[in-house]
Amino acid sequence: MILPDILLESVYVLTGLLLFIFAALTLKDPNHPHPKSTATFWLILGIIFIAGTYLPHAITGVLVLIMVAIDGAGKVKPTTPPPRAKEESASTGGGVEADSSPPISAIASNKTTILSYAHRQPPNQTQSILGNKIFLPVLTIPTITILFALTFRILKQDVTTGALIGLGFGGLSAMLVALALTKGSLTHLLNDGRHLNECMGAVNILPQLLASLGIIFTAAGIGTLIANAVTHFVPHHLFLLIIANCLGMTLFTMVMGNSFAAFPVIAAGVLIPLIVKPFNVDPAIAAIITLTAGSSGTLITPMAANFNIVPAALLELKNPYAVLKFQLPYALILWPMHVIVMWALIQL
């Protein structure tokens, strides 16, 4: 293995170990409704994170099926009562004081520093007792991500891998910065992270599952089916073909949840044989606008869970489809603009 691969693997291992810790904390949590099954779920995810590169795909597949079965049975839950007092919901007092969940106070009983520190925060406080320094941990994450990406760029390595490695080490560094800054305990840090992860829940693995579904759709020839339908029904007319091409791209992106998975299929099945070749169109114009026509689809499909469903969980939205709903009018207006812009640029 070359260095970038080793670094990326180590980031996966770190995440896996963190998931092991989350699982252990869940197992020990006296207030958890399903400690064993929830812990098993995150434990399996940890195993896949650590060993995913080496495990035979069939075994990983079976492990995934077990995870989905546990979630399907409704056994992946956050701890009760919700222990992370949300700042928004703190109507009379500060969020810190409202947070009196038994597991944390039990753990914190010998960590008087953090509690007294927190209790100095008066009620109705509208800012952090740490002032602007509280931004340091979260700013650490993008800073380190960007530094890694830039370094990889300079060293002519894959920038994408660099950004991922940076995200991993950024997350780790942010934990250390947060610990040093708040003088909090490690258990506090990990338990808070565990609660946030549990509140988001099994939806966190949805993007990975959907990527698998995309591959199976491709193997089953769904894309070719869509491309063939377009070829079959649309007359030989440039403007109509542009509409059909953009529509095919958007629909297939909605199915795959990802415009990058849809593009090669539409390009090979519709764009090149029906538009670029017969009408002698500049492929650069047609191709890049076809790609972004797919993004309109990404904005309105729950299949793009990493962009639309996971963020809704992360922001604790009541409606899991709220982000999709907000993006719908935007996508519906931007989509016909693709047809018009492509047609106009071709005419120029």
Partner: protein
């Protein structure tokens, strides 16, 4: 890489898959394979467990396409094997979990309140202005060839609380907001969605403004495979009109949202 839109497998492997999609031993008409998509539509509409729905659709589609459950000697790749392969290859999409402890501990110490406090010092900071600025920032990052998943790193810890605080001080007529929010929960939902959308808008359309971004590279390699050689810079050039429109349209949507929030507030008072 899922910071930006990107498929799990390389463009070339996707192309390879297309060629073996036709199975001469098929008994059912081809369109029955679409049953998996129908299952997803119904399952998501009924809000069944999304993980179950997706795996059921994967099994159904694979079986209808006569794929084996497991790879056996000489067979094509099994459905469960594909599931495992793609799940492992896409761990990067779930890597954000490593950022959660730092964000959660910072929030315990008042991160969101401090972000709100900071923004309330600026009278000019309206929710719309913040959302537009954030979208522009993400477009600029994309044009610089930098990618990161902004939802956990920027939107939850910083952008959403700032936007919410700006909305509060706007409706409070400049009075310092108390710890209690004066916004109705429908407004909170809208602001959260808008913050998440600003990230997506900026990310999707900004990334095509750099020739090193995976979108441009995907188009370049796909066209190459199909026998066309184009310059990556020409691709960037023709990405410009849509990128400009995407920014304008985002700005309009955020401005309209802002206006509606103020109207609703005026009606409530």
């Amino acid at each position: 890489m899922r910071f930006s839109e990107r498929n799990s497998s390389s463009p070339r492997s996707v192309l390879n898959h297309i060629s073996f999609s036709y199975n001469p031993n098929m008994h059912l008409p081809e369109w029955t394979k679409l049953a998996g998509i129908l299952l997803v539509l119904i399952g998501f509409a009924l809000r069944l467990k999304p993980t179950l729905v997706v795996v059921a659709a994967a099994l159904l589609t694979g079986l209808l396409a006569h794929l084996p459950l497991f790879t056996t000697h000489g067979s094509s790749e099994g459905i469960i094997n594909m599931l495992g392969r793609a799940f492992a290859a896409n761990r990067l999409m779930t890597l954000f979990i490593i950022t959660l402890p730092a964000v959660a501990l910072s929030e315990r110490f008042g991160l969101q309140r401090q972000a709100a406090h900071l923004i309330q010092k600026f009278r000019a900071a309206t929710p719309a202005a913040l959302l537009i600025l954030y979208q522009l920032f993400r477009v600029a990052m994309g044009a610089l060839g930098l990618r990161l998943n902004g939802h956990p790193t920027f939107v939850r810890p910083l952008i959403y609380p700032m936007t919410k605080a700006a909305a509060e001080s706007q409706t409070n007529d400049g009075l310092a907001a108390s710890a209690a929010s004066n916004l109705p929960s429908s407004a909170i939902e809208k602001l959260k969605s808008a913050a998440a959308a600003a990230e997506n808008y900026g990310n999707f359309y900004g990334q095509n403004l750099s020739p090193v971004q995976p979108g441009i590279l995907l188009v370049f390699t796909t066209l190459n495979t199909l026998g066309y050689n184009v310059s990556v810079w020409r691709l960037v050039l023709y990405a410009l009109p849509i990128a400009t429109l995407s920014i304008t349209l985002g700005a309009a949507q955020f401005w309209l949202l802002n206006r509606r929030l103020m109207k609703e507030n005026a009606r409530l008072q």
